[in-house]
């Protein structure tokens, strides 16, 4: 039986994401697009006259979807028709098990790591679970017994399995830099800073860096070590989500609603939830890998806990640090959600052949080149600093 700590951490992640973040994200989508497009957005839903700026719209959406009739098309496979949105939803939820929302703290009885499942192969688990999500798209269109559905399903499945390849390869450079697949370790490795001009000393141009130059330090975040990896990974994982400019499978103006056309009521609600659930999951993974996760830039855990331990004791210092770092994590998650919304409402939809060209002809060679250059640089640094 898993112990209480694991269950509590898992509950925290699932409850925070599904109950707190998810409704707000549907509101954010409407309001952010409205602000970008110079209109007001949805703000009519109210309870007894209290409007709350449109924050009640997610509730109105859910109530509406529950009230709709469940239509299953004639000749469709009923079991698979029901199974597809469930398969689309579950991988998003179970990815939350390996995301660290805070660091490793020692309250006095041994280190406690704030991840539900602190496994050595965390990112492999994320890839594996992401591959299962493909089946939701594959089965949905086929089981609908409709031409548009089949077309959307074919496009969606081809797009998803293509972008999985580049998704994995674009992260290999990051794994080489941080030497680990464990998300908690990758976040911890980003807890330090590095001297910006340190390369001058490594390459041998100066014997020792002067003090005024070595003060300029940047946090050792993944995005600064692997900028190309960040861009590639973000593109690929947004293409996996079939959102942003990559929503050809559900292209509204081309194939009506694509693979989830024959879904109504809460079954469509499940697809909708799955798509919007992936947004914070993507935000969390990108924040952990590239934006330093729960770390606060320039304030490593040691620098916070050290001075405070003398004042208020180890336990309280660790607790305060925990709260600060959880806030830092969610601040980065919110930034990434905002960024994804910006991208979605700015770029027009790609054509299907443009989507596939982008993956196989542009991003795959770029990710391989990224691996190659990263390996060279790491070898050079190791060789020169001997």
């Amino acid at each position: 039986m898993p112990d209480l700590g694991v269950i509590l951490k898992l509950l925290f992640m699932v409850v925070v994401v599904m109950a707190a973040l998810l409704p707000v994200i549907t509101w954010v989508e409407r309001k952010q697009s409205a602000v970008m497009q110079d209109r007001i957005g949805a703000n009519r839903a109210d309870i007894l006259g209290i409007r709350l700026l449109g924050l009640l719209h997610p509730l109105a959406d859910v109530l509406k979807l529950f009230g709709k009739e469940d239509v299953v098309p004639l000749g469709a496979n009923r079991f698979m028709h029901l199974l597809a949105p469930v398969i689309a939803l579950i991988p998003g939820i179970i990815t939350l098990a390996v995301v660290p929302f805070a660091g490793v703290y020692d309250f006095g009885s041994g280190p406690v790591s704030m991840v539900a499942a602190d496994v050595d192969w965390g990112m492999l688990y994320v890839f594996a679970v992401g591959s299962i999500a493909t089946y939701g798209t594959v089965i949905a269109g086929w089981s609908s017994n409709s031409n548009w559905g089949l077309l959307g399903s074919l496009r969606g499945s081809a797009q998803m399995i293509s972008y999985e390849v580049t998704m994995g390869l674009s992260l290999v450079g990051l794994f080489m830099c941080f030497n680990s697949l464990k998300l908690q370790e990758i976040a911890q490795a980003q807890d330090t800073t590095f001297r910006v001009f340190g390369f001058l000393q490594t390459l041998g141009f100066v014997h020792a860096l002067p003090r005024w130059l070595s003060v300029v330090r940047l946090p050792m975040w993944g995005i600064l070590l692997q900028p190309l990896g960040f861009i590639l990974f973000l593109t690929c994982i947004m293409a996996e989500n079939k959102r942003a400019p990559f929503d050809v499978p559900e292209g509204e103006s081309e194939i009506i609603a694509g693979y989830h056309m024959e879904y109504s009521g809460m079954r469509f609600g499940l697809f909708y939830t799955a798509e919007f659930l992936e947004i914070p999951v993507i935000a969390m993974i990108v924040a952990t890998l590239f934006l330093g996760g729960w770390t606060i830039p320039w304030l490593s855990t040691q620098r916070i806990v050290g001075p405070l331990t003398g004042e208020i004791g180890v336990g309280a210092a660790m607790g305060l640090c925990l709260i600060l770092q959880v806030f830092s994590f969610f601040a980065k998650v919110i930034f990434m959600i905002w960024l994804q919304m910006q991208i979605r409402w700015t770029l027009p939809r790609f054509r299907y052949d443009q989507v596939m060209d982008l993956c196989w002809k542009i991003m795959l060679p770029l990710s391989l080149a990224n691996i190659f250059v990263t390996g060279l640089v790491i070898l050079a640094i190791q060789g020169l600093s001997r």
Binding site: M1, N77, M80, V119, D120, W121, L124, Y125, F127, A128, G130, S131, I132, T134, Y135, V138, I139, G141, W142, S143, L150, S153, L154, S157, A158, I161, E164, G168, L181
Partner: protein, 167 residues
């Protein structure tokens, strides 16, 4: 019996049921493919229970996540809906085939107990990606590179086979 051993037998049962479902399902090809996915995922779980973590992840990513999707893709592309074939000439080869493999399996299972050497304990980090990666890139780097050539040949072959003929 510990929880993990119980989980092993549960996943073993699931694998057998799913593979039987795949083989015996004559009406719906997509349902066969989905049973295959269930079989592969439960095999992945068994690999995790046998300490082969990297192999389990690759099994799910490659097998369950790409190969069976490819099967489903072809089924959907060709729109193979109902598995209705005219009756075969004779049912004898089918029955003989089932009888032969059943007999072979029974003989094997009879001879199995007591025929295997003793078990050695596993070192720390066994089956993790670090240990396996080290082996793969040092002792077995030639087969590793050879499989990449094999994949290149397969890609070229598949593209040529699936291309529409330019008549």
């Amino acid at each position: 019996m510990s929880t993990a051993a119980l989980l092993f037998y549960l996943f073993a049962a699931m694998t057998i049921v799913a593979s039987l479902g795949m083989v015996l399902n004559t009406r719906n090809t997509v349902a066969s493919a989905l049973s295959l996915v269930v079989a592969m995922i439960s095999l992945g779980a068994i690999y995790v229970l046998l300490d082969a973590y990297l192999v389990a992840a690759i099994q799910i990513v490659v097998y369950a996540g790409a190969i069976v999707v490819l099967f489903l893709f072809v089924v959907m592309l060709l729109n193979l809906r109902m598995d209705v074939f005219p009756a075969a000439r004779s049912r004898l080869p089918k029955l003989l085939g089932i009888a032969a493999s059943g007999w072979g399996l029974w003989m094997f299972l009879r001879l199995l107990p007591g025929s295997l050497p003793a078990i050695s304990p596993a070192p720390e980090g066994f089956g993790g990606f670090r240990a396996l990666g080290t082996e793969l890139f040092t002792r077995y780097v030639v087969p590793f590179e050879a499989t990449s050539l094999l994949l290149l040949a397969a890609i070229v072959g598949a593209v040529i086979l699936a291309k529409r003929r330019i008549d």
